[in-house]
Subunit: 207 residues, 2 copies
C-alpha cells in the first residue's frame, strides 16, 4: 500500500455543475449537440458519466443548462445598462451597445448562437425560454433606445426603426460567417460591426 496514495476522487458537490456545464460547452462547440457524447462531456469534466446524470436528468437537460448559464449574464448586463445609463440614444449605440455587439463574436455566446439555430426547432421550450429571457428583452431595450432617439429629436422617422433586428444583424452575420467560412475568407467582425452601426446611425440621424 502506498502511503501517499491519492484519493480516487474528491467530493465537490458544489462546483460540479459549473465544471460539467463548461466542459459541455466545449464539447458542443466542437461537435454540436447530437454528435456530442455524454461520456465525452463527463471525461472532459474529469467525472464519471453516472455523476453527470446525478446533476442533470438527461442530455437535453444539460444542453438547456448550458444555454441558460452562458447567455443570461451577457444579456442582463446589456439590459441593465440601457436602464441605468443617461446617455443620448446615439451615444448609447456608439458606446455600451457597440461594446456589447463587438464582444459577442469573441465570447462563448457565439457558439450558443449557432447551437440555438441548429437545435432550436427540436427544443421548442428552450426557444421559448430564450425568447422570454433574451430576445424579447434585448429587442425591447433596443426599441426603447430608438424610440427615445426619435422623441428627443435625435433620430428621424424611418422604416428601419420598426426593425431593431437591423442592429444585431451584423453581429449574427459575423458570428455565423466566421464559424463557417473563416478558413476561406475571414470576416473582420470588429470593423464590420462598427462600420455597419456607423452607417446605420448616419442614415437615421437628424442632420
Amino acid at each position: 500500500m502506498n502511503l501517499m496514495a491519492k484519493p480516487k476522487f474528491k467530493r465537490r458537490k458544489h462546483e460540479r455543475p459549473a465544471e460539467i456545464t463548461s466542459a459541455a460547452l466545449d464539447a458542443f462547440a466542437e461537435n454540436g449537440y447530437t454528435a456530442t457524447k455524454v461520456d465525452d462531456v463527463a471525461r472532459r469534466a474529469g467525472v464519471s458519466k453516472g455523476l453527470l446524470y446525478l446533476y442533470f436528468k438527461t442530455k437535453e437537460d444539460l444542453f438547456k443548462a448550458v444555454v441558460r448559464n452562458f447567455i443570461s449574464p451577457r444579456i442582463d448586463t446589456l439590459i441593465q445598462s440601457v436602464e441605468t445609463s443617461d446617455l443620448s440614444a446615439e451615444n448609447f449605440l456608439r458606446g455600451p451597445f457597440l461594446v456589447f455587439a463587438k464582444s459577442v463574436p469573441k465570447s462563448p455566446a457565439r457558439i450558443l448562437l449557432r447551437l440555438m439555430i441548429a437545435e432550436g426547432p427540436k427544443h421548442p421550450d428552450l426557444v421559448s425560454w430564450y425568447w422570454d429571457n433574451v430576445v424579447s428583452k434585448g429587442l425591447g431595450a433596443l426599441r426603447s433606445v430608438l424610440a427615445r432617439g426619435v422623441s428627443d429629436g435625435e433620430f428621424r422617422q424611418s422604416a428601419l426603426l420598426e426593425f431593431p433586428q437591423t442592429l444585431i444583424s451584423p453581429v449574427i452575420v459575423s458570428v455565423l460567417w466566421n464559424q463557417l467560412f473563416e478558413r476561406h475568407e475571414k470576416l473582420d467582425s470588429d470593423r464590420f460591426i462598427e462600420s455597419f452601426i456607423n452607417e446605420f446611425i448616419a442614415s437615421i440621424k437628424v442632420t
Copy 2:
C-alpha cells in the same frame, strides 16, 4: 389472380434520385439532419431503404446531394443576371437583386441555410463546395456591382462597400428569425429586406 393486379413497383431509374432528394429535403426541414431517419426519407419517396442506398452511398452523401440540388440553380440565376444585365448599379440592387433577396425566405433555400449552419462544421468538404459554388460567386457578383456603382459615380466611397455581406444580412436574419421565433413574433421579411436595402442604397448614394 386478379387480372388488374398492379405491379408492386415500377422501375424508374431516372426519376428516383430527384424524388429521393426532394423527400429528403422535406424530412430534413422537419427534423434536421441527424434526427432524420434514412428509412423515413425512403418511405416519403415511396421507396425502400435498400433502393435509396443504391443511389446514395451514405446518408451524408444524400445530404450533400440535397444541398447541391436546391441551392445551385438559385445562385446561378442571380450570377447570370449580374453578368447580362445592363442596369445601373442602383437599379440592379432595386430590381433583380431585391427580387432574389425577397424570394429566399420563401424558397427551400431557407431550410438549407439553417442546415448549413447547423451541420456545416461537421462537413468541411460540403462547406468548401458551398463556398466555391455559392458564397464566393455571390459575393464576387455583389462586389462587382458595388464597384461599378463607385466607378460610375453613383455610389460614394464607404467602409460598407468592403462588406458586401451587408446586403444579404437582412435575408439571413429574416430566414433564421422566422424559423426560430415565428410563433413568438413574426418578422415581415419582405418589408424588412426592402427597407434595409433602401436605407443601404440611400446611405451610399452620391446625392
